[in-house]
Symmetry: C2
Subunit: 199 residues, 2 copies
């Protein structure tokens, strides 16, 4: 198993979605795996009292910019009806699946991003999340029971606290051997860092 | 005179400085001039109650990131002793010089960015600003008198209000024929937009 890089994100983050379409390929070029680590970005916003989408000029620009970036990348993109939203079911499912099969968790997380940002599927709904998981070979009935378990809910809280403790404050946020990169627009630098070991 | 693109910035913005080292070359490749438009970013921060440098993890990351970007660009960079700061004298001087000679104003603004971010010179000091201007062929004595004039002070306020009215909320911020780009990391897209007219 190659050394992994850490990919922190919130499913509700459009720049997280853009990064989700590229991160595995960037890592694979350098023989690296990716640990897909959803966390609750809303906890960061709550602690700082700041949410970028609450500032009208910035919100308007960001939605314009992310659509423009998607076109440039050739990636489908549309704003979901429920946005922004706390998509806890999908996030909790990632860690539950990861404990069983990390590779399946990565594929599931990527499928969730696409389902939300391309097909407007509601990742807060356990039934929707189970259906996406089933398409990845996960036992959907078992997952639906797990999503109600206090330990599974607690796990996402713990992962969120661990992410914040590691300095994560946005989405996407990538740690390469401890080196932090914030934003989908840093993926080229991540690529270069992996190739050169830094500059 | 080629059609100009608008380059909005605050001298106290490190990403504004990075963009200042590239923007003229990007525009010139496409036969375009650049209007250098300093504004008071602090007014935006005050109106939203948000300042990115007041959030410790983000502040720490940004200063790390901007130094890393500077190394990648091969551009000298060091954090000035007085940072962040309201660098009004330099900003006011840009518009006063621009009314006399736009080309000189651009060269002066670029020299100010370098003086602050490479040599730690205090752009809030009229004497320092006049010295930098003199090196660009500006009549320093006349400038120093102008910097005290109410009309020159009012001009920067008006330009700031006009920038905010145009949707500007960060630094650097570039308008290409009305198309907005925020951040030094959007310069490659600006380059492409100028080449293609959009995508």
């Amino acid at each position: 198993m190659p050394r992994a890089i850490d990919f922190y994100f919130d499913f509700s983050s459009p720049y997280g979605y853009l990064a989700s379409t590229r991160i595995d390929a960037v890592a694979a070029r350098h023989g690296r795996a990716v640990r897909w680590r959803p966390y609750m970005l809303g906890v960061v916003y709550k602690s700082t009292g700041y949410h970028p989408l609450e500032q009208e000029p910035k919100r308007r620009y960001m939605m314009h910019d992310v659509a423009r970036c998607a076109r440039l990348l050739g990636v489908p993109f549309r704003v979901p009806q429920r946005f922004p939203a706390a998509l806890l079911a999908a996030s909790r499912a990632v860690y539950w699946i990861e404990d069983r099969d990390p590779r399946q968790a990565a594929a599931f997380a990527k499928a969730c991003f696409a389902a939300y940002w391309q097909e407007d599927r509601d990742l807060a709904e356990a039934a929707v999340v189970a259906e996406i998981a089933a398409a990845q070979g996960v036992l959907a009935a078992e997952l639906r029971i797990a999503l109600e378990a206090p330990a599974v809910k607690a796990r996402l809280k713990e992962e969120t606290e661990a992410a914040i403790a590691a300095g994560v404050f946005g989405s996407p946020f990538i740690l390469v051997d401890g080196e932090p990169f914030w934003g989908a627009d840093r993926l080229d630098q991540v690529d270069r860092w992996l190739a050169t070991g830094g500059w």
